[in-house]
């Protein structure tokens, strides 16, 4: 009666032999089998332009694969897409070309300039330049990178590896008169110092400050107008007669900044990013010198679904914004910010100015029309849209596999043969 070990060997030895032979046979088949890529022409980036011209004027191959060093420019991309639509199967691959996109938007505000935003894989270095020369090099974080710069000359070009994205901004030659900020409030310290802060930061400010029924102090043109006003600040309910006009202004693209009391006007409440709650008085600051933005009274904001929090005080949102049709609306939950300017530390006046300027700039409209053209803001996305996703270059007929005979198959065959030989040696067979 054969032993259990003997029975095992009688099963294992043939199995190992079959496995070894199968691995060898599969490797051999891969080496000699005709490629399912008959008719494929593989061309590298340097020869692509000439090849495209040749194929466009003569017979085009059944299948083309372009192996590129960098993402194709718009002309090459469109040419390949046209070739594909004419019946040729077009594939492409590219070396180091990360997904890259760039946007350029004017910065609203008296200082002007542009904000350049770059989307790239995290930790990727992206070089930025304009027609004059380098602007900066940034490293992409989890959400890309951004910087502000004076008005660039020509298009802004971002490069990283083989990817190159470009975006034109507005033409500085067509700079129009800077827009104004309109402040609507009751006569009081908050309205006075908001006007002062914005003027001191260079904004052109128009204002209407209500003093008594029928009596107002006015400076400039009061009717909100998207052609004239980049933003309107509504601090309190004294703006009630203008509420419908303000709503139209915001929906037409204007920027609206609502104070806590101003957000209670029904027409404007519908546009606000949230609703303010009961007033919160932080622990009283010591005598002046300690009044900071953090110690100001505030009304926490309960956000709407599409409200975006911009500033918090612990868990409470004290500044928020949302888009309202073509415009933007911000809601300020902080109150008596004038105290911060007057009774804060030595830098408080400047900080107060900067803060209010930022709040207004967050919603201000610039009135610059987007530049049409320069569709290279996201070249990888554009290439994928036109040509499909990149894929590895397929193997042409008669060529050895790009990766050679699979090492794992050979290792499997060798191991199987070795194991079978050992088993045979153990039972004494040769």
């Amino acid at each position: 009666m054969p032993s259990r070990a003997e029975l095992s060997r009688r099963v294992l030895e043939p199995a190992l032999r079959i496995a070894a032979l199968a691995a060898l046979g599969w490797s051999l088949w891969r080496a000699v089998a005709p490629a399912a890529t008959a008719g494929l022409v593989v061309v590298d980036g340097g020869a692509l332009a000439a090849a495209l011209a040749r194929w466009s004027t003569g017979a085009a191959p059944e299948s083309v694969h372009a192996g590129l060093d960098a993402l194709p420019d718009a002309a090459t991309r469109d040419w390949l897409a046209a070739l594909a639509r004419s019946g040729t199967s077009v594939g492409w691959s590219v070396g180091d070309a990360p997904a890259l996109a760039v946007s350029v938007a004017p910065v609203p505000g008296p200082a002007g300039g542009v904000r350049i935003a770059v989307a790239a894989p995290a930790s990727r270095l992206v070089a930025l330049r304009d027609a004059v020369g380098p602007l900066d090099t940034v490293r992409a974080g989890g959400a890309g990178a951004s910087l502000e710069a004076a008005a660039p000359v020509g298009a802004v070009v971002a490069t990283s590896g083989g990817a190159r994205a470009s975006r034109a901004s507005h033409d500085p030659g067509e700079a129009s008169e800077p827009k104004r900020v309109l402040v609507l409030a009751r006569a009081g310290w908050e309205g006075k110092f908001v006007v002062a802060a914005l003027e001191e930061r260079g904004w052109r400010v128009e204002a209407r400050l209500a003093v008594a029924p029928g009596a107002r102090v006015e400076q400039g043109t009061i009717a909100p107008d998207t052609a004239r006003h980049a933003a309107v600040v509504v601090l309190d309910t004294s703006a009630a007669p203008l509420a419908p006009a303000l709503a139209r202004y915001a929906r037409s693209g204007g920027g609206l900044v609502l104070g806590a009391e101003g957000s209670r006007l029904a027409t404007l409440a519908a546009l606000a990013p949230g609703r303010v709650g009961a007033r919160v008085l932080p622990p009283a600051a010591r005598d002046a010198g300690d009044v900071s933005r953090a110690s100001l009274p505030y009304r926490p904001i309960a956000l709407r679904a599409d409200g975006v929090p911009l500033e918090r005080r612990g868990d409470a949102v004290v500044l928020a914004a949302r888009r309202a049709s073509a415009g933007r609306v911000a809601l300020v939950g902080l109150e008596e910010t004038w105290l911060w300017r007057m009774a804060g530390d030595d830098g408080s006046a400047a900080a107060h100015r900067a803060w209010w300027s930022r709040v207004v700039a967050a919603v201000a409209s610039t009135g610059h029309a987007p530049v049409v053209g320069a569709p290279e803001a996201a070249p990888l996305a554009a290439a994928i849209q036109a040509l499909g996703p990149p894929r590895p270059a397929p193997q042409a007929a008669g060529a050895p596999p790009a990766d050679g005979l699979p090492a794992w198959a050979l290792a499997l065959a060798l191991t199987a043969f070795l194991a079978e030989w050992l088993l045979r040696r153990l039972r004494g067979a040769r």
């Binding site: 009081g188 309205g191 006075k192 110092f193 008594a212 002046a288 007057m342």
Partner: protein
């Protein structure tokens, strides 16, 4: 929205509290003619403390010579640079008197020299219209027998804004009465104070 609080400056030299009825009278005037939320009583603010900075409009008066301490001078400078407005009124009806001499000197040392304010300045149309400039007081008009009328107020300006307003027309005497007595007057002589407050709150 915080109320407007009428603040009286307290300084170490002189008699800062020489006109105790003025605050209540002017609070009444502001409430009477405007819709500005105003606190029903005023406060006294020491010039030498940071409390000064919490009241962007401060009224200062007196009969006696004024000499600021270093701290008071520094505070007044900070107050003005941050946007505050100081109204100084000589409670004497004289010319080149001790209060006038010393107060103008101290103002110049703290924030700069006073300049004559033109009588068509925006202050005079900030609420009520005063086409002839600052209204004269009864003390100027033969109140002491000298018909000495001061034609102009003086100011220290910051970027076109009045930072310090100086008067030697003795509004402290003119306004120093109980507000109930307005009913006996054919013309309310405190109306100019409304212009002062409205100007301070809107410029």
């Amino acid at each position: 929205m915080s109320d407007f609080v009428f603040a009286t400056a307290q300084y170490e030299s002189g008699d800062w509290d020489s006109a105790p009825l003025v605050p209540a009278n002017l609070i009444d005037t502001i409430a009477r003619y405007t819709s500005i939320p105003v606190a029903p009583s005023g406060v006294v603010v020491p010039l030498g403390t940071d409390r000064l900075l919490r009241h962007p409009f401060v009224w200062l008066t007196g009969h006696l010579p004024v000499r600021f301490t270093e701290q008071e001078r520094a505070n007044v400078r900070r107050f003005v640079e941050r946007g505050g407005m100081l109204f100084v009124d000589d409670h004497n009806h004289d010319i080149d008197g001790a209060f006038h001499k010393t107060a103008t000197e101290e103002i110049a040392r703290a924030v700069g020299p006073l300049v004559e304010l033109p009588n068509d300045h925006a202050l005079y149309s900030a609420f009520f219209r005063f086409d002839d400039g600052p209204p004269t007081t009864s003390h100027e008009l033969n109140g002491w027998g000298d018909n000495l009328v001061h034609e102009h107020l003086h100011a220290v300006l910051r970027d076109g804004r009045i930072a310090v307003l100086y008067s030697n027309k003795d509004y402290s005497s003119e306004w120093g009465y109980h507000p109930d007595n307005k009913r006996f007057m054919s013309v309310d002589n405190t109306k100019f104070a409304v212009n002062l407050i409205v100007y301070a709150l809107t410029r």
